[in-house]
């Protein structure tokens, strides 16, 4: 994949990515009053979730372990249950996109924490190796052809340059923390919602909401990212007892920033999506045959040779491999294109 340039977006749309204090003002909602926290909201949301999940969770054998509800599992099960099951049972394949995401995440984390990125490629590789490389990213990179690795390194350098140019290092007084793990057990731990927040800042809420959550994306802007973000807003609300006052997705390739205030409507819609998906995940864990829902991912599904509806949709019974074409970054579930106006507060 050829390196992308943040400038290309600006040239084609006239859109200028936010940077510096402008970016921080958007994240902090400068000029807006932070909402008052309803102290009963989190408990009410939790009760709603647990009531809605109790029957489905009871069908799952205790020996099966907890049903884990992550953003990927949610998107997957709501897209096609059979595809999710196939993906889980197939050998894990690391793609260049996944490697890029991990390496850019590491560089962002380094920048936010130390305010220095001197050698993006060396720094990113050191970062994934120092933790023992549990995701196999370093191993994957080592196995790449020299030419592909060079292209990836150039991409990483561009993402890093964009981050350094546009992101001011957050003040330590804002209590920034990176890769913050959030785990919310429900119905006695039989269902566990979980996620890892790329960046959160702001102290714990008192009377007013005070936390901003930022999700980093190194790939193309997709509509399901909004669902991911709302999922994180719900997680943070259930974990801390107060909603974040701001949630944002930052795209390192283009510098686009989608920022949203968190209203009760946002949380309720996120909850309904979680409920719909978590019930399906419970039923799958209980042994229910997965439903097949043809969609834009069918062409890449490892279950395609056994899936008639998928074959009809894909026009073939031979699945493509991630990385087959330069467009494989675009495993979109919806037509490509900008979703909303980049950089505008929602």
């Amino acid at each position: 994949m050829p390196p992308s340039s943040p400038i290309a977006v600006s040239a084609s749309t006239g859109y200028r990515p936010p940077e510096g204090t402008d970016l921080l003002h958007r994240l902090r909602g400068q000029g807006t009053t932070r909402p008052t926290v309803d102290p009963g909201l989190a408990g009410g949301l939790r009760d709603w979730l647990e009531d809605g999940l109790a029957d489905a969770a009871a069908e799952v054998s205790p020996e099966a372990g907890p049903v884990r509800v992550s953003k990927d599992a949610l998107t997957g099960v709501l897209t096609c249950e059979a595809h999710l099951v196939a993906r889980r049972t197939a050998p894990r394949v690391i793609s260049e996109e996944m490697a890029r995401g991990s390496l850019v995440d590491a560089l962002f984390r380094q920048w936010v924490t130390t305010g220095r990125v001197d050698d993006p490629w060396a720094d990113a590789m050191s970062a994934v190796e120092v933790g023992g490389d549990p995701d196999g990213i370093a191993g994957f990179v080592a196995s790449m052809a020299d030419e592909r690795r060079q292209v990836l390194a150039e991409e990483i350098a561009e993402h890093a340059a964009g981050i350094v140019a546009r992101w001011p290092v957050p003040s330590p007084m804002w209590l920034p923390r990176t890769q913050e793990r959030v785990v919310v057990p429900l119905v006695g731990g039989r269902v566990v919602m979980n996620g890892v927040v790329d960046l959160a800042f702001g102290g714990p809420a008192g009377e007013r909401a005070s936390v901003c959550v930022v999700e980093l994306k190194s790939g193309r802007r997709r509509v399901e990212h909004r669902g991911d973000l709302h999922f994180y807003a719900l997680l943070e609300t259930l974990r801390s007892g107060a909603p974040p006052f701001r949630i944002a997705t930052y795209y390192t390739r283009t510098g686009e920033l989608d920022v949203e205030a968190v209203s009760e409507d946002v949380l309720v819609s996120a909850l309904q999506r979680v409920l719909a998906g978590a019930v399906k995940l419970c039923r799958l864990a209980a042994g229910t045959e997965p439903a097949r829902s043809p969609n834009g991912l069918c062409a890449w599904c490892s279950d395609l040779p056994r899936c008639e509806p998928g074959q009809t949709r894909a026009g073939t019974d031979v699945p493509r491999r991630a990385g087959d074409t330069v467009d494989d970054d675009d495993l979109d579930l919806v037509p490509r294109g900008l979703v909303g106006e980049g950089g505008q507060d929602g």
Binding site: D123, V130, P185, P204, S240
Partner: protein, 304 residues
């Protein structure tokens, strides 16, 4: 086991958690009942570790205690070489950073972590003060490149920030972050040591109170997990050091558990310690008998 103290869900939570820590003691433990418990536990443990293969010694800390209860099959596996990582040293670095914030030597957890790491690297380096013992992680950290060091710092900042924002520190009495671990060498044998740890120690009405920070969600048997540092502190330091309570904080899930420490809580924890040591001894015997750790812990599982 004594009653569980509830905690207000009012915001900010730091106020409620601080209230829970500083509440007056609700339980007391008598010297006689404590002596009986210690004598019985020591006697039973000596009998158990007598079965250990010659020369083997067990050090039961919170990690092994949890492993024996949740993953007994893993106890038989030989320990590989210790491998440091950002996740492994975040607590050590983060505790030192919070202690700096508490002493007002640093203005925020992020600043404190950077200072702790810089000082550690200096102490471990050639130019360090030879009279100062460098922390255990410092040599490893000093050998990392910039990207690796940044991950260590980032992990520690997140951990330290979670602890720093969890409490209203100015309301705590004689708070100590980290501090010395409690060690109890089981009398009558040289083969067993218990090691307890607390992340924060405070006092309320002259009695110690412990705060333990966990990862993820509270374990199913969280009472045993919280009872362990209380039992070891009691065994190691004596009657006057029986904690009034142990508070468990799991920041990732926002969960808090509170264990008032009475003789029943200590006795139940002692029973859990006995079971853990028995499981571990079984696992070591199995490894010895098989000569290889192919299915470690199978006998322990069967006993369960």
């Amino acid at each position: 086991m004594g009653p569980t103290i509830g905690m207000s869900v009012a915001l900010p939570r730091a106020g409620a958690l601080t209230d829970a820590l500083m509440a007056p003691p609700t339980e007391t433990v008598g010297a006689d009942e404590l002596r009986r418990l210690r004598d019985r536990l020591a006697g039973d443990l000596v009998t158990l570790v007598e079965e250990l293969p010659a020369g083997e010694k067990l050090k039961l800390d919170e990690f092994r205690f949890g492993q024996a209860r949740e993953h007994p099959d893993r106890l038989g596996a030989d320990d590989g070489p210790f491998v440091a990582s950002p996740a492994v040293c975040r607590r050590a670095v983060g505790s030192a950073a919070v202690a700096r914030c508490l002493r007002r030597r640093s203005s925020s957890p992020a600043v404190a972590v950077a200072e702790v790491l810089a000082a550690g690297a200096e102490d471990a380096g050639d130019g360090g003060d030879p009279t100062v013992r460098a922390p255990w992680w410092a040599g490893w950290y000093g050998g990392l490149s910039a990207g690796g060091r940044a991950m260590v710092e980032a992990e520690a900042v997140t951990w330290a920030t979670q602890l720093w924002t969890a409490l209203e520190w100015e309301r705590l009495v004689q708070p100590m972050v980290g501090g010395s671990d409690d060690w109890w060498d089981c009398p009558g044998t040289r083969s067993l040591t218990l090691k307890g740890r607390a992340d924060v120690r405070v006092r309320t009405e002259g009695r110690p109170v412990l705060l333990v920070v966990g990862s993820g969600v509270p374990p199913f048997d969280w009472r045993a997990a919280l009872g362990f540092p209380a039992l070891v502190a009691t065994l190691a330091r004596g009657e006057k050091s029986v904690p009034a309570r142990v508070v468990g904080l799991w920041p990732a899930s926002g969960q808090v558990r509170i264990l008032p420490v009475d003789i029943e809580a200590l006795a139940e924890t002692a029973t859990a310690v006995m079971a853990a040591v028995a499981t571990w001894v079984d696992a070591r015997l199995e490894v010895k008998q098989r000569g290889r750790p192919s299915r470690p812990g199978a006998r322990a599982e069967a006993r369960r």
